[in-house]
Amino acid sequence: MVILFSVICTVPLFVILIYILKEGITKINWHFLVNLPKPVGETGGGIANALIGSLLIVFFAAVIAIPIGIMGGIYLSENKKSWIATYTRLSVDVLQGTPSIVVGIVIYFWIVKPLSTFSALSGSVALAIMMLPIVVRSTEETLKLLPDSLKEAGFALGLPYQKVILRIILPCGFSGVISGVILAVARIAGETAPLLFTAFGNPYFSTNILKPMQSLPLLIFNYATSPYDEWHDLAWGAALILLLWVLLLNIITKIITRKWKIQF
């Protein structure tokens, strides 16, 4: 019976994957990828603004979150007992548990209201806050696995602290850190709720990060809940692209973890 229950669990996943593949594959072609969405009632149209918008927002979020996350993880793995480390660990746990829509609300008041415009920058900051706990956690766990003798050897050779960390410890734990980063990027690539009132969506093509920008999950949400069939078709194609992208990132992470496993 246990076997039956376990196998039933995987059925929905494959049903969803196959259904989206079936619905979306007929909608994707070159026009789909390079055109803008057309007004309702006209066929054709594509999702170019959402693709570029998603790429830009995720890129800026990664640029903000990766250095801060890795440095935070290094600090947490180096000091285990100081009060700053305990409370920072607690706050990283709190951040990991916050619902994504609450993050959107807070960034609305921090960035959207002062700039008095929706912007891709605020969306990037919101997504960076969501990425931060994952990167910090995975860096800390990876660096905790490394033996102390590496660090002591570096110090014994007379290397300064930053060289020991950045040139010895971090490259050793590279696979764990990179897999955490790629997992975090895969997670935020599909997030909609923080972008609902920060990046807000844009029917036109825009690369200005201080103006609203469309993003792939936002497009899927808005078009799927609309009553127009052409928009539903666009949403199916976009859903397939998003799904393939997220699955690709997860598979890359698994390959990296397996090939460059940290073994001591």
């Binding site: 600090y75 180096e78 746990d93 609902l196 949403a235 997220v246 997860n250």
Partner: protein, 329 residues
């Protein structure tokens, strides 16, 4: 010949003498360079160490400011509505009446129903992967597909649910004789159940694998069947860890926004039955935030966000505390 040799010797030895006499000066120059270099090194080290501390402090301050922003922005509605906010039964923005009891009920109903549906499946997967097949190609395949369930974005679950699950539930409701909405609390609980299975399953699997094999072997040697070993030895030992996994799933289900917004029907009334449409805290924020016209409306939505934040964070922290206690025992 000998004279010229001695002359070069003398010149060489005199130049050497000059160099030797200037050696203390060179030593000083070298020492000064070395001190300067090591000063710079020490400065860089200090800079790096302080920037590490500053970044950690920054993360701490970020989370504190998070909480403060939520509290400050919901102050108008806390002052105006007080505790009746949580127990009022009508949410009517047009006449400025804000009672969030329907949303609390909707959130609790969907999350707990999803938990009830998903817990047997999560436990089954945890036992299967932890005890029956800890290694092997099938276990790898199952583990990867369960983790893939967690990786799929929630809008895609909502989208699929809206177009595939809702007609199915609608035909089920027609057969049952209930009003065939299709959307509603039951459908969103189903989709939530699919989404939260991986959290309890992977955590439970780790907990079950940590049961010491000496206990299991002792039970087997006394003649217990596999089922008896599972129910009498493994499950009681890993009980707290499994509870923590369930709590983490609950925390995820409470905060889930997008998939629920798409299939719950967005009716701000107390749901009449499980098959009726309703609303959850997260979905009402998602739907009405950008259309909140008055400041009281906006701040009551933010107070809702504050309540959601507190509840989810408390549940997640309790779950993580239990896991930490279990893994360091």
């Amino acid at each position: 010949m000998k004279l010229s040799a001695t002359k070069t010797e003398i010149s060489r030895s005199s130049s050497l003498l000059r160099e030797i006499s200037s050696l203390p000066r060179m030593m000083n120059v070298l020492k000064a360079l070395k001190i300067e270099r090591s000063n710079r090194q020490i400065q860089l080290e200090k800079f790096f160490k302080t920037s590490l501390v500053l970044i950690a402090l920054g993360i701490l301050i970020l989370v504190v400011c998070f909480f403060l922003t939520l509290v400050v922005q919901s102050m108008p509605s806390i002052k105006a509505l007080g505790f009746g906010f949580l127990f009022g039964k009508t949410w009517d923005p047009v006449s400025n009446v804000y009672g969030t009891y329907p949303f609390l009920l909707g959130t609790l109903l969907t999350s707990f129903l999803a938990l009830i549906i998903s817990v047997p499946f999560s436990f089954a997967i945890a036992i299967f992967l932890g005890e029956y097949y800890p290694r092997g190609w099938f276990s790898e395949f199952l583990k990867n597909s369960i983790e893939l369930i967690a990786a799929v974005p929630s809008v895609i679950y909502g989208f699929w649910g809206l177009f595939v699950l809702v007609p199915l539930v609608r035909s089920l409701e027609i057969k049952m004789g209930v009003t065939p909405y299709g959307i509603g609390i039951f459908t969103s609980a189903l989709i939530l159940a699919i989404m939260i299975v991986p959290y309890a399953a992977s955590l439970g699997r780790e907990m079950i694998r940590m049961v010491p094999s000496s206990l299991k072997e002792a039970a087997y040697s006394l003649g217990a069947t596999r089922f008896e070993v599972i129910t009498a030895v493994i499950l009681p030992y890993a009980k707290s860890g499994l509870m923590a996994g369930v709590l983490l799933s609950l925390g995820r289900a409470l905060g889930e926004t997008m998939a629920v917004t798409m299939v719950i029907g967005n009716t701000s009334l107390i749901p009449k039955s499980i098959f009726a449409p309703g609303n959850t805290m997260a979905s009402v924020i998602a739907n009405e935030f950008t259309e909140a016209a008055s400041s009281l409306y906006l701040s009551s939505l933010i107070e809702l966000g504050l309540v959601l934040f507190l509840v989810t964070v408390v549940i997640n922290l309790i779950g993580k505390r239990i896991i930490k206690r279990f893994t360091t025992e």
